[in-house]
Amino acid sequence: MNPALAVLCLFFAIAVGLGLLARRGRDMNLEQWSVGGRGFGSMFVFLLMAGEIYTTFTFLGGSGWAYGKGAPAFYILCYGAIAYSLSYFLLPVIWRYAQPRRLVSQADFFIAKYDSPALGLLVSAVGVAALVPYLVLQLKGLGIIVSEASYGSISPSTAIWTGTVALIGYVVVSGVRGSAWTAALKDVMILAVVVAIGVYLPLHFYGSYSAMFHAVERAKPGFLTLPAAGMSSVWLISTVLLTALGFFMWPQYFASVYTARDDDVFRKNAVLLPLYQLVILFVFFAGFAAILVVPGLKGSDADLSLLRMSKQAFGPWPVGLIGAAGLLTALVPGSMILITAATIIAQNIYRPAARAATERNVSLVARAMVPVIALVSALMALHGGQAIVALLLMGYNFVTQLFPAVMLCLGERPKISAAAAFAGILAGELVVAAMTIAGASIATLAPSAPQFLKDMNVGIVALGVNIIVTAGAALAAPRAKVTIIAIE
């Protein structure tokens, strides 16, 4: 066994062991399993939120974008800061509403606020449709990381199957506690590894950051600023705005709000998480350093730049450590996504459908859904091809459509009816789906529009339609209700 593979196996075993131990003799009802019995302090919530936010996309995609696209990659550093400043005010309000009502899913929040099970079903469907591609992406990333870092001795498909089985195991046993414990290991690893490679590699290959950026600019003039057209300033601003608004609308982030013991946790995190975000800066440094060290990686191969350069600079031991950190960036968010999707299906689809369901039934269904979702995702990761990238883009735009309805119900009573919220979300989702399938952009929708409009992220159109339909429905029928016969 090569040393890199030994290190990978060791950390994999530690992660799975921690995930299983996290249960520690607790009786796992749904509230314990999904939201940790609402007993997490600042530290655990910080670990969970940081753990969910730094995914394989940060690790592979962050360096891949810096390597392949240059300055447009900076958007990844921007949206978190804006989302965190918003979270200081938004998350305590959500938590204070959810806590006494014992909510466990994002859909629960909509059902309770708008008094509408139908809206809950819509939000559940949106959530699952957005979560599955996200899990698929984590598994794909896991396959790439493990096969690269093991010098090819483990194939991506073996890595994906092994990872999936381990995820199923510790998620079923420990629920969100397993995620929190493995997140602790992951955060230490990723901080150490990313800062080490982001500091060492540029200095090793170029002598200084300044020399590195000057060399990149000489090799690719204009690479370090945003272009005048295409991924321009307007593109960056519209993309950052959409992603910042959608950030806490992801069902797994929304549900991690429920795990907190008190509401000051979120205010402290709003101070700390932007600093932690600088991890991404070091990922960028690695991506930029790779441009002249491992040139010629095209398209999605750009995502391999960080690992390829590391293999050139280090021996198998450190490469194994880097691979282990990457492995954890797939497992931790993967476990949260899995718990959230299974909770939504059990709590918001199974429970209303089976009227006689007891707490115990719902809890069992949630756990039974884990292997189902995980296996479907693993199959999609192995056979899904490029379609999955389109699905993920769709996922981000999907969850962003929930933002207006959340903002409009934060007060004592919702400002709009459930029907208006339902119509707005549905209209927004249909526009997202149609545009993603058609591969539309503003340039294709309106070829004669001025350049700054063409550069705008097309998600703005869907959000605009959503807001207009919501406002229209709210004015036309202020007290309308949505009903689904089977439920009410």
Binding site: I82, S85, Y209, L278
Partner: protein, 61 residues
């Protein structure tokens, strides 16, 4: 909501409205191209700003 909570809008202004003006290579600051420096500075400032708001909120209680 209190008056100083408006400070929380600054990160969005710096990172959204500021970008077209900061979209330049020179001058390099701490070895970083100017646009990247601008964004990193605002991420750090976000933490500081939210820290100040948190302290003011706690003093009020």
């Amino acid at each position: 909501m209190r008056g100083y909570h408006a400070l929380a809008l600054l990160p969005a202004i710096g990172l959204l409205a500021g970008v077209p003006f900061a979209n330049r290579l020179e001058p390099y600051v701490f070895g970083l191209p100017f646009l990247l420096f601008w964004i990193v500075a605002w991420v750090l400032a976000t933490s500081a700003i939210m820290g100040v708001i948190w302290m003011l909120d706690h003093r009020q209680k």
